[in-house]
Symmetry: C2
Subunit: 657 residues, 2 copies
């Protein structure tokens, strides 16, 4: 059987299965899937070098389906090829009969690509659009770091190409000369509610790609030879380091093969009953027209991946902070007694870089503010630093790709700008990514630049993930707020050792040392800085210092306060309740961000105990503006140590009155 005929037969078979599995599920996007039948056939049955038996084999070529709703076409191919599915300890080949379980509660075939639910062929969860190309770039960057000659294919929808993140990813790929990633734009001309904009027409996408620095091949996405030729060309380019990266724009038909599905808008609509029979009949006719053969996987020879190189990855630990300072001739810092937590993060990053080869660092043009530059400027580490420029969405999805390739990506930028990528971070968490997020200039203490640079609702958002469990059974995210340089340094190391998502907030101002090399910091832990008996103050980050000052005022007023540095969320609630009980049940929380954050986490614990605690929360209750320094911004938002003292006095008097 000719290649042409074999591809047509197989593509039509995948189309048929896509129609049937979505009909069985009662939902899904068969028409989008059918626009990709030929491309996916050529990729998965011919061009990719991979192994259905070992879908995550390290040297395998990878396919990222950025337009995740087209996933039935991949499931169909996977069933034909017997790709291994299931959780790690119970892998088995996917069968055609499994396809009818699409979208069932206990199926490995989730509604959108979802590696953590038992479909390891995928590296990251997609379905929230525009993120796949960045993840593909992350996989490509990891391969380059590891010296693996591996190709990454990424299918992007035309309507999806409107997402600005796609432009960020395209720039990043050129910047990093990632010739080993191939964006394939599926130009079927339709979005969900309507046709795609003329701004996302094939011609426009092609022109934009060329202007962005790509060699672009335009193909008929249902012509097997054209598809193969383009992939062959890419194979040549991907091996070159200094070539211009390549992209494919493929003219495709939504609901290809079935005139029924091409009339009206069938986006996201299953085809059932008579319409299904008609569509299946049309597909069968199309097959007779194009090939005399029935589909058979025997017509193809999948090229296996190269053997994975035996490599020892060095994974060591951080030296103590004081040693790190000494090794950098920074002992004067030890004597000064103060250092900004963001600077301690930079020092830790550099040490970690040398100690742990899996660590990679990404930043978004603010490495001189976040201090990720300490890593970037070290000649031995520079190859593992990826400058993402001012495109935060791309940065976090690149990190998800790097994580899928076993890297430990640390991403830093201003905590405020991390917000840009919350959807990407959420998808990374769903992908099981081992993501380390470091937001600098957190809270209000950066002062002078004003609210456009302050992160104020961030703790609330990440805390939401701290209330649930990821696929490993761990909190969806740990939120870490080091109050001093020792804590920031140690927690950077703790993050690297932990497998899962963490969000650490670092501070702009210099802060005094509270700790030493001897203090051990743990995820879920907290530190009691001062033990009293009348009231428990709970603070984190910059506010620990302000609360510390309040202790003296309170002492003068005859009040013995306990101070807890709640540097982690979630935290050991039982232990904190014990301390609250030792303080007559009075608790005051203090944080320089909006509410629904630390105070609320403490409220959760207190309210669920059923005991009569009294909680008062201090947080930012207005939109701040610029002020020249931390003291003035705290005055503006009512969070100085005087305010804390007053609030304690009021709380204790009012209630005892």
């Amino acid at each position: 059987m000719s290649f042409e005929a074999a591809v047509h037969a197989q593509a039509i078979e995948l189309d048929r299965l896509s129609l049937e599995m979505t009909a069985a599920a009662g939902s899904g996007h068969p028409s989008t899937a059918m626009s990709l039948g030929h491309i996916v056939t050529v990729l998965m049955f011919h061009s990719m070098r991979w192994s259905p038996e070992h879908p995550k084999y390290p040297t395998s070529d990878r396919l990222v389906l950025s337009e995740g709703h087209a996933v039935p076409i991949i499931y169909a191919a996977a069933a034909k090829l017997g790709v291994m599915v299931g959780r790690e300890d119970e892998r088995r080949p996917l069968r055609e009969s499994d396809l009818a379980t699409l979208r069932q509660a206990d199926s490995v075939l989730d509604g959108h690509p979802n590696p953590c639910e038992g479909f390891p062929f995928f590296d990251t969860a997609t379905g929230s659009l525009g993120q796949g190309l960045s993840a593909a770039a992350g996989l490509a960057a990891a391969a380059r770091i590891d010296g693996i000659e591996k190709r990454i294919y990424c299918i992007v929808g035309d309507g999806e190409a409107r997402e600005g993140q796609v432009a960020e990813a395209l720039d990043f790929i050129v910047d990093q000369r990632l010739t080993n990633v191939l964006p394939i734009f599926n130009c079927n001309g339709f979005g969900q509610a309507d046709r795609v904009s003329q701004q996302q027409s094939l011609e426009r996408i092609k022109a934009k790609l060329e202007a962005t620095g790509y060699t672009v091949r335009e193909i008929d996405g249902h012509n097997p030879s054209q598809i193969k030729a383009a992939f062959d060309e890419f194979a040549g380019i991907s091996a070159k380091d200094n070539a211009q990266p390549m992209a494919i724009v493929a003219r495709t038909v939504k609901g290809w093969g079935s005139p029924t599905l091409q009339s009206g808008n069938y986006h996201g609509k299953v085809v059932a009953g008579d319409a299904l029979q008609r569509a299946l009949g049309e597909l069968a006719e199309r097959r007779t027209e194009l090939t005399s053969s029935l589909a058979s996987s025997d017509s193809f020879m999948i090229q296996p991946p190269q053997d994975a190189p035996a490599r020892e990855v060095m994974i060591g630990e951080l030296p103590p902070f004081s040693e790190a300072l000494k090794s950098r001739d920074m002992t004067s810092v030890l004597h000064s007694g103060r250092l900004a937590t963001r600077k301690a993060y930079g020092i830790a990053l550099q040490q970690l870089g040398h100690a742990n080869e899996r660590v990679v660092v990404l930043d978004a043009d603010v490495s001189n503010s976040t201090y990720a530059e300490d890593f970037a400027r070290d000649p031995k580490l520079a190859g593992r630093f990826l400058e993402c420029k001012i495109g935060e969405q791309n940065m976090f999805s690149v990190a998800a790709g790097l994580s899928a390739a076993e890297k430990i990506p640390f991403c830093s930028t201003f905590a405020k700008f991390v917000t840009r990528a919350y959807d990407q971070i959420e998808m990374a968490i769903y992908s099981g990514a081992n993501l380390k997020i470091v937001g600098s200039h957190a809270g209000a203490s950066l002062a002078a630049d004003g609210p456009s640079q302050m992160s104020l609702p961030d703790v609330a958002w990440f805390r939401s993930f701290a209330t649930m469990r990821d696929h490993r059974g761990n909190p969806g995210c740990y939120i870490l707020q080091p109050a001093d340089a020792y804590a920031a340094y140690a927690l950077t190391g703790v993050m690297a050792e932990y497998e899962g998502c963490c969000y650490m907030r670092t501070l702009r101002p210099e802060t005094e040392f509270l700790y030493s090399d001897d203090v051990v910091f743990n995820l879920g832990g907290f530190e009691v800085l001062s033990e009293g008996r009348d009231i428990l103050l709970v603070a984190a980050g910059y506010m620990v210092h302000e609360a510390n000052k309040a202790l003296e005022d309170l002492d003068r007023a005859g009040i013995s306060a306990t101070l807890v540095d709640l540097y982690s969320l979630p935290f050991d609630a039982e232990k904190l309740l014990d301390i609250a009980n030792q303080n007559n049940g009075y608790v005051l929380t203090i944080e320089d961000n909006y509410g629904a954050s630390i105070g609320s986490a403490v409220a959760d614990a207190l309210a669920e105990s059923g005991e009569g605690f009294t909680l008062d929360q201090m947080f930012i209750q207005r939109i701040p503006k610029s002020a020249p320094n931390p003291d003035e911004i705290l005055r503006m938002v009512g969070l100085t140590h005087e305010d804390i003292t007053q609030r304690c006095l009021r709380l204790l008097q009012v209630v005892s009155a």
Copy 2:
């Protein structure tokens, strides 16, 4: 004095003031400001048609400074021109002597553009990069809707142009043929940590703009005649409806006029002491070289805006829901007793569109899912519908621009995809935008599509804004979760009447009616659906129905439960505590999203009361996956009515044991 000479003299004066004010503030970005001296001079002193006395005059041309950190150059021009500043009731002209107050706590001159702190020349807050061009497009779209011939200038940094949102905005401008907005790319070649990427070189930006459909003019951004000629050309294009939109790429010098500032990287660094004196000296030399004149505003004649047309804007109210259904021949729905809240939103939108001319609607290619299509397809309303395609970041910043022009923008998409634009929404709140956000397919009840389409940490994020106050003294955001169609319909009307930000979650599945036309819904309110005495159940949205079912099971078990539909956050805490007290202090909250949300809001209230309440929270504690229907997804995450009943029984027994 020649135009050339006058511009040079004025630009150098603005540069000088930028240097001096940042030196006084001790922070800021003088070198970026100085790259814009000439462009800002030609704009504000010559090309813009506006009035320094009435900086928000409706027909005035507008300037959006997307790279907000360059703001000192605008403040300098504003001081020279005596632009009115201050809160609405205390406007006064800005003076040169005010410039030294830059970034002070009580200054109208915030660190980044901040209209709500007394600088009404700006329409929106900027400083988080990449958002200004979208806001400019919103202002331009509003002008078109209002039939005002008005030009919108927007300055975008070259490094900033990496943000994908800029690409989204550029596409949107072409889609909407907004020839009245002019993007000006300030290509000074430097970002913060380093030079800009070659992907953001002037040549590359120009090529991308041309590929995107722009007429591009390249100018020397320090050459007055070239700047003026480009603006003149734009004036011609902006008057035409079907022209290709225009963009300017300006080659500029960071720290123009001062070799001192051009050596090394002075991004975000103030110049003080000797360096300041040297830089000032260099600027003075430059002036002598270029012009014999000192700066004088008399050299220019600012063209005033046209008189604002006297227009009556129709602002009416929503008819009752049942009437709306009748007018749409949908009375069968009344009899069926059920309708999805997203559909009720669509019906309300259409009614609102006819009742209130300020209402405009935006959607992101999912209007057939959110039901915004009910508005879009009404021929009388279609002109106020803006299809943003799959570019959510742009959509929300466009809305901020529309709001600044007195529109009431309703933006809808899947609640999950709203996440893409959290940073944009935050900036819109800081801009005082009257933004209505409607996230459909909220929570887990959409079931089949899986977690990539579910909004689960969204309530936590928006709740953070519900804990603080905006510039009007209102909650930064109201979160609304209608449980039935009556509530969704009525709350859509309530949102339109309220001035400020609201986030409403609508649901995919059909839900039964709980209410009638007679029920009044309020921001901050809740409804008691069933009055009991043993335990208070608090739920919202889809979970109200599940809790409702649990009431019967509980009744059979001899437990009399109260059910509150907490459709608003924030809510009347005191009133809820009273009800909790009437139920022996037992409270169970139920929500189909992650924690830190409704349950936590209730915990806040209970814990602060100091009384011995007992709270148990039910929320989603794992990453969901696809399931075929709401019942199965609720089973997966432990939120069925049986689960609720069991939890109540356990809570009451354990504690009474």
